[in-house]
């Protein structure tokens, strides 16, 4: 655990000309190697917060520092920074017109200028790790939800990111497929990957998080270690939420 790799400063996100405040002054930081899990009721702004970290959602106020650089600055080359921030989506978002292998090698070849052989070697090694080597030449439509999400994770890993952002990675999965995806995420966490995870999987948060952030109404209500949040929440809003989901 060393310096902050991501710092969010007073993030604001207003929709519809300020009527809806999805984020209302969020300050948070993520250290290198840290696993931060963000929980909260739906509509609390946790996904918006995550999407602001790689500017898929452009905040209406505040700053995001990534490796000390203000990426909300208009002069910053966001595409370059995003290469180091892998993202996994709720709905996988694999490219349906490409094979699994092509899904994984496209960005490394076009953006990192890797040779096809290098990119494929890395992709195949990653596929091996998640137990999907035999699906390299399949198309996304031929995979189950759990397989798709595992592919989505390794697709992001092909870019050798510094941080992985997970936006409710198991919410769209059938219950019996949640485990296989969480397993991959746990392994990743154990290897020391810096992760920010928005999820409803309280078990994962308890077991793997270095820090849990509880959000409600566009603000961080409480943050702390899993023990602090799950065993002894200080805020009534946190207690209220945990009573409902646990």
């Amino acid at each position: 655990m060393s310096a902050d790799i991501i710092q969010a400063m007073d993030l604001q996100k207003h929709f519809d000309g300020g009527d809806i405040k999805a984020l209302n002054g969020v300050n948070a930081s993520v250290k290198k190697g840290e696993v931060v899990v963000v929980i909260g009721p739906s509509g609390s702004g946790k996904s918006t917060f995550l999407r602001c970290l790689n500017l898929l959602e452009v905040p209406t106020g505040g700053k995001v520092l990534f490796e000390g650089v203000d990426i909300t600055d208009k002069k910053a080359d966001i595409n370059l920074h995003r290469q180091k921030m892998g993202m996994v989506f709720q709905h996988f978002n694999l490219f349906p017109h490409m094979t699994i292998l092509r899904n994984m090698t496209l960005a490394p070849m076009k953006l990192l200028k890797k040779s096809q052989a290098d990119a494929e070697a890395k992709a195949k090694a990653l596929l091996e790790r998640v137990g999907l080597s035999d699906r390299a030449n399949a198309y996304p439509s031929q995979l189950s939800g759990g397989q798709k999400q595992r592919i989505a994770i390794v697709r992001a890993l092909c870019m050798d990111p510094e941080v992985m952002l997970f936006d409710e990675p198991t919410s769209a999965l059938d219950p019996e497929m949640v485990g296989e995806v969480l397993e991959v995420m746990k392994e990743l966490a154990k290897e020391g990957m810096t992760m920010v995870v928005v999820t409803h999987e309280m078990g994962f948060a308890r077991e793997m998080a270095d820090r849990v952030i509880f959000m409600a109404e566009g603000k961080i209500v409480e943050e702390g270690t899993p023990e602090e949040i799950f065993m002894a929440p200080k805020q009534p809003r946190t207690r209220d939420f945990l009573a409902k989901v646990l």
């Binding site: 790689n54 898929l56 452009v58 208009k74 595409n79 370059l80 995003r82 290469q83 921030m85 892998g86 993202m87 989506f89 709905h91 978002n93 694999l94 490219f95 349906p96 017109h97 496209l106 960005a107 076009k110 953006l111 198309y139 996304p140 439509s141 697709r155 992001a156 870019m159 952002l165």
Partner: protein, 260 residues
């Protein structure tokens, strides 16, 4: 009783008609003057070639134009609130231009556009096929643009987000991820546009271009009898359209079987 058929024929009829059964004589003569005499059948073939060439060129121009216009429209609609500086000015300018183009082209008849093109803008050009292809291409481009725009909009926003999150810029994501999927989605519609275009080129005769329709028209005028020539023109279109519709159907089935 009509007088002996042969006396009413201004042309000399060949023996194979006169020697045939009498009730077939008139019909045979009509056929003869519509297709055989003076090698008139060659005119339909020439018309067929021109119609196909015209349609193909127009479609190529239309697709090229349609892609550009639809990209300008989509890029502006999705990004202009977040853009600034000269980039926004240029995109805004081209977007306005694209809107004027779409309004004018879709708001006026293709025949009028063709005539303006041939008799005014390219008044000095003798190359009827090229001028007509350009005119129909510009016309078709407006419709193709809206087809492709619909295709791009039908692609899930998650695809753009996935591309961007990997580090691709907007243009690269469009090129590698969105457009290939959008094209696949609109391919049957584009093929149908080709069929529509094929029939729309039938007005090319307005500038004296010998297409399938104009060939029938000229021969009908020469024979003082339009029945066979115009039926022939209609038949050629019908066969072409049925053939291409068959191909589009095959294409659709193949695309569907490779669906997710």
């Amino acid at each position: 009783m009509r007088p002996s058929a042969s006396q009413s024929w201004p042309l000399e009829a060949p023996d194979w008609i006169l020697n045939g059964p009498e009730w077939l004589n008139d019909l045979g003569y009509d056929f003869y003057k519509s297709f055989v005499f003076d090698n008139r059948y060659q005119m339909y073939i020439k018309g067929l070639g021109n119609t196909l060439l015209l349609t193909l060129l127009a479609l190529l121009i239309g697709v090229a134009l349609g892609v550009v216009i639809s990209l300008i429209r989509v890029s502006w609609d999705k990004n202009h609130t977040e853009m600034q500086g000269p980039g926004k000015f240029f995109l805004g300018f081209f977007n306005a231009l694209a809107k004027v183009y779409l309004t004018v082209i879709r708001g006026t008849p293709a025949v009028v556009q063709l005539m303006i093109m041939y008799f005014v803008i390219f008044a000095s050009s003798r190359n009827k096929v090229m001028v007509a292809a350009l005119s129909f291409g510009i016309n078709s481009g407006a419709y193709v643009a809206e087809i492709i725009r619909g295709g791009i909009m039908s692609i899930d926003t998650g695809q753009m987000e996935a591309g961007r999150s990997l580090g691709f810029g907007y243009v690269a994501t469009m090129r590698y991820i969105i457009l290939p999927q959008a094209f696949k989605a609109v391919l049957p519609t584009l093929a149908n546009e080709f069929i529509v275009l094929l029939k729309e080129t039938a007005v090319a005769g307005y500038v004296g271009l010998t297409d399938v329709t104009y060939a029938g028209n000229i021969i009908g005028g020469n024979c003082y009898d339009y029945l066979f020539p115009l039926l022939m023109s209609a038949l050629i279109y019908l066969i072409l359209v049925m053939f291409f519709t068959f191909l589009v159907g095959k294409l659709e089935r193949r695309l569907r079987s490779s669906e997710r």
